[in-house]
């Protein structure tokens, strides 16, 4: 058995106003696993991801154990240190567009520096070398000094992935990484994510809208509906019947 990197138990989130976004979500993520989370908009996929690195605070009684640490009880400084070990990739890349690809990648290293060194970009030479190497691995060696504003969507997302990788993460969370990309760029990004989990052994938790994409790349699929997990199993077990259950619609009404 592979070692468990992440284990959530009874993860519950109620937003102000009483909206229940997550209800007692429990699942585990093992080393090297690629897990896709599917489900309709508002099912709680984004909230689930953000409760793991506490960009959103879960309710009392929730438990998220990452790398042997209970994340929900960490203090501010410990939380920042733990966040360094969790990479995050976003739908809208969330880069600083005025800065170069290299500078954006190095942002992933910021948490390892003192406030002063980080604030004034006094990065170590080996980190800069590593950043250039990662950009090269992702096919961006010609774009190292490009302003991110001038990159294409797929290239921006690759910078986002490099920023996550330079953190030396033990887990990567991806929130709709291909939702804004054209089909070709989307395929490239999914292949990189697959490679990261399979070759580098870093587990990836990927929120997706496209069921067919999840079926191609995921080792395991989690289906969410109204804040619950309604399916959790290998992709082969995700039958049309179960997809209908997740989306609450007949299969012929779904573009999947």
């Amino acid at each position: 058995m592979q070692e468990t990197v992440l284990q959530t138990k009874n993860l519950t989130k109620t937003y102000g106003g009483g909206t229940l976004a997550l209800k007692e979500v429990s699942f585990a993520l093992k080393k090297g696993e690629m897990v896709c989370v599917i489900g309709p908009s508002g099912a709680g996929k984004s909230t689930l991801l953000r409760c793991i690195n506490r960009m959103i605070e879960a309710d009392e009684g929730s438990s998220v154990v990452f790398d042997g640490k209970e994340i929900t009880s960490l203090r501010k400084k410990e939380l920042a240190q733990t966040r360094r070990e969790i990479g995050m990739v976003f739908q809208h890349y969330n880069l600083v567009y005025r800065l170069s690809a290299l500078e954006n990648v190095l942002h992933g290293r910021m948490g390892y520096y003192s406030t002063f060194a980080g604030a004034f970009s006094l990065y170590k030479k080996e980190d800069i070398e590593r950043a250039v190497e990662l950009l090269g691995m992702l096919g961006l060696e010609e774009r190292v000094y490009f302003r991110c504003a001038n990159l294409s969507g797929g290239q921006k997302q690759r910078v986002g992935i490099a920023r996550a990788l330079i953190q030396d993460p033990k887990l990567i969370l991806c929130d709709e990484p291909i939702a804004s990309l054209d089909p070709q760029a989307a395929k490239v990004i999914m292949e990189y994510l697959k490679g990261i989990s399979a070759e580098m052994g870093i587990p990836c938790l990927v929120n997706l809208h496209q069921v067919d994409v999840a079926k191609i790349y995921a080792d395991r699929i989690i289906g969410m509906k109204d804040g619950h997990i309604v399916f959790d199993g290998p992709k082969e077990e995700l039958t049309d019947k179960r997809i209908e259950n997740i989306y609450g619609a007949k299969i012929h009404e779904i573009l999947a």
Partner: protein
Amino acid sequence: MENVNIRTSIFIKKKRRELDFDSLGRAKLRESSAADRMVVTLLVSFAIITVYTVFFRITYKWDHFMPEKLLEMAKGFLRWDTIATGQRTDMIKALINTFALGFLTTVIGMITGIFVALLAARNLTRGFLPHMIRSVAAFMRAVPTIIWVLIFVAGYGLSATTAVVGMYFHTLAFFIKSFSESFEEVDEATIEALKATGANWLQIVFGAVLPSSATRLISWLAIRSEINFGVAVVIGPAVGVPGTIGTAINNASRGGDYATQGFGVFLVFLTAFILEVLINRLRQRSIV
């Protein structure tokens, strides 16, 4: 994909919805909003106030306007050859003084303003602090610069210090408002991305917030530089700061020296023009 079957028609065929009409009998295009009513109210009030002031409040002495006086001024205005050389260099020195006055205030205001604005931006600082700073800044801005300067005359007397300190207050408040709003326009998602890597507050500020808002900050800085030059010009005669171009123009004016007056105005115009051109260049270049 084999499951997808395209329906022959998804469009719903139903009886057409009847049009709605407004009070004037025109077909309605949208629900009337508070903003619409506000615009109408504003325009009507402007009209009423204009009519009232022009016809009932202003008693203008039309015969006081003497064209021959204007002609005399216009003739003298450009006779810069009648100005003594020493007088001319004095004017240029006064111009440099004035520019320095405005520049100094802008720079001090900007440096201090950036830090206060970070604490006044609601996406960077939580709690009551932003609200408090904004309230104080709003008060500081509501009091005109001239009044601030006049307040400090009591303590510092008639000097350049008075002008800088007085102008500083309004400048600081301006930067607090404009900078904090620029910071708030930075995409929350970019800040989230850095937070997720474990970066701390100052690292996020320097790594994401300042680079992302740099263009806007430069724009505001440029606008305030222009304003402060203008203020520095008029502040001289208003509170009697010696050695500024405003004071020099004022003195010339009182002595009926049209030529010196014209030369002073020309210098102010030239500086403002150069400033404007430089700023536009800078802004165009700094745009992402």
